[in-house]
């Protein structure tokens, strides 16, 4: 399979079109399985009672928020290196989903904190780094919306994401350090309970579901971006008249 075949927008458009429903359905099925195991098979946790079940969305969304940022940086770097259009389109399609999942991780993490520690917000290492990650996403989105020229906008965002990616491990390290110094490691909302095998299964299923959901949504979004940006080309014109 020649991967360069899909580097051309029309071919990628078609590929994405076939992948979206497949990914969406897989996400839904895995999600249902994961939630079923999470709520009807996994036992009550000895220490945290039933509230721990939030883990089944908190962990997947947190991981995806992080992963998507890395993938954004990857496509941004490819776009800069090869001066190609499609990688930038993928990068921009990823950002909103990444931001939403990070916000979900933040919310679910905070809500988990209230029954555990009695406060709606806890400055523990994981939540604080998630908050900073959300700031990074918002900064990138703000930069894109401030720049009108598409080419400059793409490349500026790619550069910003690159410097963000270099910084992210440093940020996480510093926040962990800060947290253990100030509060001791007793406060950690996301100290997952000693996971019974069923809990782990549910988390993994939900993570796979979140990942496929992200793939489906991002591919759907990038299809729209491709059509908008390539509207002057013949293949898009044909597509639009066919759809009309």
């Amino acid at each position: 399979m020649n991967l360069y075949h899909y580097a051309s927008p029309p071919n990628f458009y078609k590929l994405a079109g076939t992948l979206v429903p497949w990914a969406a359905w897989s996400a839904a099925i895995l999600g249902v399985c994961g939630l079923y195991i999470g709520f009807f098979v996994a036992p009550t946790d000895f220490q945290q009672g039933e509230a721990y079940r939030i883990i089944f969305i908190h962990v997947p969304s947190a991981w995806m928020g992080m992963l998507i940022y890395l993938v954004m940086a990857f496509w941004g770097a490819i776009g800069l290196a090869f001066n190609a259009r499609l990688p930038f389109m993928l990068m921009r399609a990823l950002a909103p989903t990444g931001a939403v999942l990070t916000a979900v991780a933040l919310w679910t993490g905070a809500v988990w904190g209230k029954p555990m520690w009695g406060t709606w917000w806890v400055w523990d290492a994981r939540l604080t780094s998630t908050l900073i990650l959300l700031f990074l996403y918002m900064g990138t989105l703000a930069l894109w919306s401030a720049i009108e020229d598409t080419k400059r906008s793409d490349r500026a965002g790619a550069l910003l994401t690159l410097i963000g990616v270099v910084n992210v491990p440093i940020i996480m390290f510093s926040v962990v350090w800060w947290n253990t110094l100030h509060q001791g490691s007793s406060i950690g909302v996301t100290h997952a309970p000693k996971m019974a095998a069923t809990m782990m299964q549910a988390v993994l299923l939900m993570t796979a579901s979140a990942w496929l959901y992200a793939i489906a949504v991002v591919l759907a979004r990038v299809r729209r971006i491709i059509v908008e940006r390539e509207r002057k080309t013949e293949w898009v014109q044909k597509l639009l008249t066919a759809e009309a």
Partner: protein, 63 residues
């Protein structure tokens, strides 16, 4: 995990509010993202269709 009854399930050992608001907000975000995707696609389609019409009949624009 054997729930004794549905009401126990919703109660989640007294933590129902937290568990369900977490899942609830997540569901809202997912639905919102999907709706936003559809809305943006529709908008984009309409705009592009309009632009195609302008390209076809330039004399009618702005006259």
């Amino acid at each position: 995990m054997e729930w004794a009854s549905w009401s126990e399930f919703w109660n989640m050992g007294g933590r129902g509010f937290f568990v369900w608001s977490a899942y609830g907000v997540t569901a809202v975000c997912v639905v919102a993202e999907l709706m936003w995707l559809r809305h943006a696609a529709r908008q984009s389609q309409r705009r592009l269709a309009r632009m195609q019409e302008w390209d076809k009949s330039p004399e009618q624009v702005g006259s």
